[in-house]
């Protein structure tokens, strides 16, 4: 028997440009939070703790996208002090809603929002963490799903790959027994091209999926977009729905550009 107490894995939570919603999802694990805190050492989590211990960390959860020059440096530092780096949410995984700037003249954006844009340092793009450093796992969602987040953390503690399905939201509708809103009501729905994880929450409420988990692992836009058109969406509608919370995800980006070329 080893007399030494088992060293608890050291967890760090980091934030870049974001709404804090994915970090909050961790604090929303009300039933599991105190138990989790016994399993891991929360070494750095500014939103929740004023105590911060230096690295190295066993697991870094990263929320938010990279939008400033300082962020670029910071993400490299975080990678260097983290054994495993997992992104949580659409911002960290696909640039987030703020990646809408990638299609615009950011100087014009700044001038629209700030009278003195020179006071505000920002990059012309909002990019995912993986554009800057290697990432061990990307958890999708705007916001991430609580159950999936716990699965990712516990999988890491157990040293296994997280069991997070890569199929589309349609599978989740079938699992829940939700009637297909497209087939039954002609409601435009991004379910067929969207990554599972939310539990198909929108169709359950009678609305079409709006793609907040980003593209699934196999998308077929040439087959899918005509369905959206059949259900009443015009080019601009299709572009808008693809260019929202996961606009910088390559599949959504390419499909939206293709629409504009038509």
């Amino acid at each position: 028997m080893n007399a030494e107490p088992r060293r608890r894995p050291r967890l760090a939570v980091w934030k870049f440009a974001s709404c804090d919603g994915c970090q909050l999802t961790l604090l929303d694990c009300e039933d599991e939070l105190l138990g989790l805190a016994e399993q891991v050492e929360i070494a750095h989590f500014l939103e929740a703790s004023s105590a911060s211990a230096p690295g190295p960390y066993d697991l870094s959860l990263v929320e938010g996208s990279v939008t400033t020059a300082q962020d670029v440096e910071r993400v490299h530092h975080i990678r260097a002090v983290s054994r495993r780096l997992v992104t949580i949410g659409a911002c960290a995984t696909a640039g987030g809603v703020q990646a809408l700037r990638n299609y615009a003249d950011v100087a014009e954006f700044q001038a629209a929002v700030y009278a003195r844009p020179d006071y505000v340092a920002t990059l012309a793009t909002s990019t995912p963490i993986s554009a800057h450093v290697p990432v061990d796992f990307e958890l999708r969602g705007c916001p991430v799903d609580r159950r999936q987040l716990l699965e990712v953390i516990t999988a890491h503690l157990a040293g296994r790959r997280p069991a997070v399905p890569a199929h589309s939201v349609c599978f989740e509708c079938k699992q829940r027994g939700t009637v297909c809103v497209t087939v039954a009501h002609g409601t435009p729905c991004l379910g067929p091209v969207t990554h599972a994880g939310c539990g198909a929450v929108c169709p359950t409420f009678g609305r079409g999926c709006y793609g907040c988990f980003g593209p699934s692992d196999s998308t077929n836009f040439p087959a899918f977009v005509p369905l959206l058109r059949r259900d009443g969406m015009d080019t601009l509608d299709v572009v808008r729905v693809l260019r929202t919370f996961n606009t910088a995800a390559p599949e959504f980006d390419a499909a939206s550009r293709k629409e504009l070329e038509r």
Binding site: K15, F16, A17, S18, C19, D20, G21, C22, Q23, L24, T25, L27, D28, E30, D31, L33, L34, I42, F45, L46, E47, A48, S49, S50, A51, S52, T67, T68, D71, G96, V97, Q98, L100, R101, A104, V106, F109, Q110, A112, V113, Y114, A115, R116, Y119, V120, T122, S126, C142, P143, D145, V201, C202, F205, G206, R207, Y210, D237, R240, T244, F245
Partner: protein
């Protein structure tokens, strides 16, 4: 005290607040030369990219400004766009919106009270440390927070960025029997909320006062949450009273559509958030303002709990101006929100349709609601097809920033006069002064400027 020279104190990253900001303090001898809450949260440009979107989209898109108060964004956006389109949502649909908003008050306030703020009063770095000595209190808080989340999840589909809100109402409304399981959870939550008020009332509060003008929405017959008229209670010094005065002063109101004429934002060099002022003066929104302006309309058990907690009776014209006691007011508001949620569920009858139609038309609309941390105002201009051509969002933290800085200055000044605080002590004091206001920093970093402060930038 001859050795007191100049010093600069910089707290690089504020903790236990939403979003990222820092503190900067410049002291010369015994005088605070500068106290700044510098927000370095990167801008995300919501107001810029809302232009060109369909009028149906801002409720979903602006919820992404903040994961902690998405309902506040969704409902402010709905109100503003419905206003532009000449549509009023009332009856049971309005009641369901209020119910959902109660869920957000319970969830967000409880997060702040138990997880972010209470550790300050127990000298702990975080809630996990707090749970070692106060396990039952922390578990009660987590249970209460869960009850708030349960309301949002039931009505909205999920707690963060709910999906069921739309212009005119909801995509789907619940049946009476679907709401029933909430009742049991909320009855337990009502006990938990009452115990929480008692718990936080026993904390050790520094004597303090604030002489900011207070701004909150008000309604004639109920504690304003998801609607109301902007109402101002002036600062005590306007009546020759000290900052700690607990006397209510006569209020004045202005229409939601005149919001931008009164609350004006300006850009300052040290922050990505704009600073807003009310008729040229610093002001405070949030629980202290709401309690001062609408406290008499709290539910009877919340009102009684407030008095038992030492906040005074707002029906007798007593207000609370001690920012440290904002945690007590928040706890009272949680109790009120739980009670209100139970009342709304009890009176619920499913409406015939989940939403009323909101046909687009050209125009400008305004919407204001009471986010947990204060008044949130949205303004949208639409063209005839319903495309957004302009958007202005004024969140509570941009409005509270001047008041927070004044609290910082005052706190540090008092401690310099009464002793020789070390840098570590000053840092702790300042962080506490900031946390009193539960700033939502992610919210406050993307706002349209109207006038520019051209004062020289010195560091």
């Amino acid at each position: 005290m001859t050795h007191r020279g100049s010093r600069v104190l910089h707290v690089g990253s504020l903790s236990r607040v939403e979003g990222e900001g820092s503190l900067h303090l410049r002291i010369r001898g015994e005088e605070v030369a500068e106290a700044r809450l510098a927000i370095f949260e990167p801008p995300r440009f919501f107001e810029a990219f809302l232009r060109g979107r369909s009028y149906t989209e801002p409720p979903d898109i602006t919820s992404r400004i903040c994961g902690i108060c998405p309902v506040a964004y969704q409902l402010s956006a709905c109100r503003a766009i419905e206003d532009a389109c000449g549509v009023t949502v009332d009856g049971q649909l309005a009641a369901l919106r209020r119910l959902m908003y109660c869920g957000e008050w319970i969830e967000s306030h409880t997060l702040h009270v138990h997880l972010l703020h209470a550790p300050d009063f127990h000298g702990c770095a975080n809630v996990v440390e707090l749970a070692r000595s106060r396990r039952a209190d922390v578990e009660r808080g987590l249970r209460l927070k869960q009850a708030g989340n349960a309301i949002i999840e039931l009505l909205g589909g999920r707690a963060v960025h709910p999906v069921n809100v739309r212009l005119g109402g909801f995509h789907r409304v619940p049946s009476r029997s679907e709401l029933r399981p909430l009742e049991e959870q909320l009855r337990r939550a009502r006990e938990d909320a009452a115990l929480t008020v008692r718990w936080v009332a026993g904390f050790d509060f520094p004597e303090a006062g604030c002489d900011h003008d207070l701004l909150a929405l008000a309604e004639p017959d109920r504690y304003a949450v998801e609607s109301g008229t902007p109402t101002v209670m002036p600062a005590p010094h306007t009546a020759g009273l000290p900052a700690t005065s607990r006397r209510a002063l006569p209020t004045r109101t202005f229409g939601v559509r005149e919001f931008g004429d009164h609350v004006v934002e300006r850009q300052v060099p040290h922050s990505t958030a704009l600073h807003a002022r009310l008729d040229g003066r610093r002001h405070l929104t949030g629980p202290l303002a709401r309690y001062a302006i609408s406290g008499r309309l709290l539910s009877p058990i919340a009102l009684q709990a407030a008095q038992d907690a030492g906040l005074g009776d707002p029906r007798q014209g007593v207000v609370c101006r001690n920012p440290y006691r904002s945690i007590v007011v928040r706890a009272v508001e949680v109790l009120h929100a739980v009670d209100e949620a139970l009342r709304l569920i009890d009176a619920y009858e499913p409406p015939p349709r989940p939403y009323v139609d909101v046909p687009p038309r050209a125009g400008t609309g305004h919407g204001a609601t009471e986010a947990p941390r204060g008044l949130l105002h949205h303004r949208y201009t639409l063209d005839a097809e319903g495309t957004v051509t302009d958007a202005v969002l004024v969140p509570p933290t941009a409005q509270n920033q001047d008041a927070i800085e004044e609290d910082l200055r005052r706190t540090v000044q008092e401690h310099l006069r009464s002793g020789e605080p070390t840098d570590a002590e000053l840092t702790a004091l300042c962080e506490r002064a900031v946390r009193n206001h539960d700033p939502c920093i992610s919210c406050s970093t993307h706002f349209l400027d109207l006038t520019v402060d051209r004062a020289a930038h010195s560091d």
